[in-house]
């Protein structure tokens, strides 16, 4: 389970400097065709880092989305990519940025792992996140 908590950089092929913390996936309610993943990303490298793709073998569609709210209205919009300057971090949290995971290939229950691949150009960082029924308490 400890391995689920953080990123497992697979050496040279991983996105340089990318750190992923506290990643989790909301357990999809029955009859829901999808869910979302949340995490903190940090660029610990010396160069700017741009995440260009998101993929999970357990879902047919994986996209970075932002929930935008104004004047009582809420809407979801896709984000093509995510850039971080050296030392910069971005938080994906409920009500804001999230990785939308739609069309699951199977059922998902609390505690089970979900694999996610983040690409930054030709490189890829892969890791696993636990499914949680409720959001973890704020740190």
């Amino acid at each position: 389970m400890l391995l689920l908590a953080g990123v497992l950089p697979s050496a040279a092929l991983a996105c340089p400097g990318l750190e992923v913390k506290g990643a989790w996936v909301r357990e999809p309610p029955p009859a829901s065709p999808g869910t979302a993943a949340f995490m903190s990303l940090h660029n610990a490298g010396a160069s700017a880092l741009t995440i260009t793709g998101w993929r999970s073998p357990q879902f047919g569609t994986t996209m970075l989305h932002a929930t935008l709210s104004s004047g009582g209205q809420t809407k979801m919009r896709g984000h093509a990519q995510l850039s971080m300057a050296p030392g910069e971090g971005i938080v994906l949290a409920p009500g804001g940025l999230h990785v939308m995971l739609m069309k699951p290939t199977g059922t998902l229950h609390e505690g089970e792992p979900v694999s996610l691949e983040l690409s930054c150009g030709p490189q890829t960082t892969s890791f696993e996140m636990p499914v949680r029924r409720e959001a973890p308490a704020a740190p």
């Binding site: 909301r26 999809p28 309610p29 029955p30 009859a31 829901s32 065709p33 999808g34 869910t35 979302a36 569609t61 996209m63 989305h65 929930t67 709210s69 009582g72 209205q73 809420t74 809407k75 979801m76 896709g78 409920p94 009500g95 999230h98 939308m100 995971l101 739609m102 409720e134 959001a135």
Partner: protein, 214 residues
Amino acid sequence: MQTPSPRLQANAGIALIAFVALSAGALFAVLREQQRPAIPALIWPNPPTLGAFSLSMAGGKMLTQDSLKGHWTFLFFGFTHCPDVCPNTLAVLKQTALRLSEDPTYRAQGQVVFVSVDPARDQPAALAQYVQYFDPNFLAATGPETALAGLTAPLGVIHARVPMTGEDYSVDHTAAIFLIDPKLRLLGVLSLPHEAAKLSTAFRDISAFGTQNP
């Protein structure tokens, strides 16, 4: 020119005092009626009242204005293909219901209703499964556009399909939670971000105020 008798003067004085007192009383009553108490999210004075509406629930049951009469209802609009705001809000409403489980008004009259604004993809039976995952007591309903309008129009709820990849679409929608009183008055509009502590405090304050101002 005759000077008015002392008795007439006294009567006039009494009448004036009575007039001033009555006017002040009436003015005070009007001010009291119109003064908006310092309760966040309270809709007062002149809260809108819901009219007739009819939506479908699982098992062929209907959700109508009568389903809300006699209850304090948290009402939220969304859709099951919504990966972030809707499950998050329903999880927060579950925590809110837990926090209010000792509140006498909520225990006796509280309920949570989720209305899908995506009737093309959300069938009533699946909707019921969806909300009961969060709390077996939650209700869910939907209906064709004309039926939805019976509830969304008086509340000012807006929803619109937005194309995504392929044939997929998302639905922009009003994400406020509405608090309806047992007489169908819209007494609270709770806006994002939704938190259980904020919602339960709003419920206690608004339900106490509504009970005192029938």
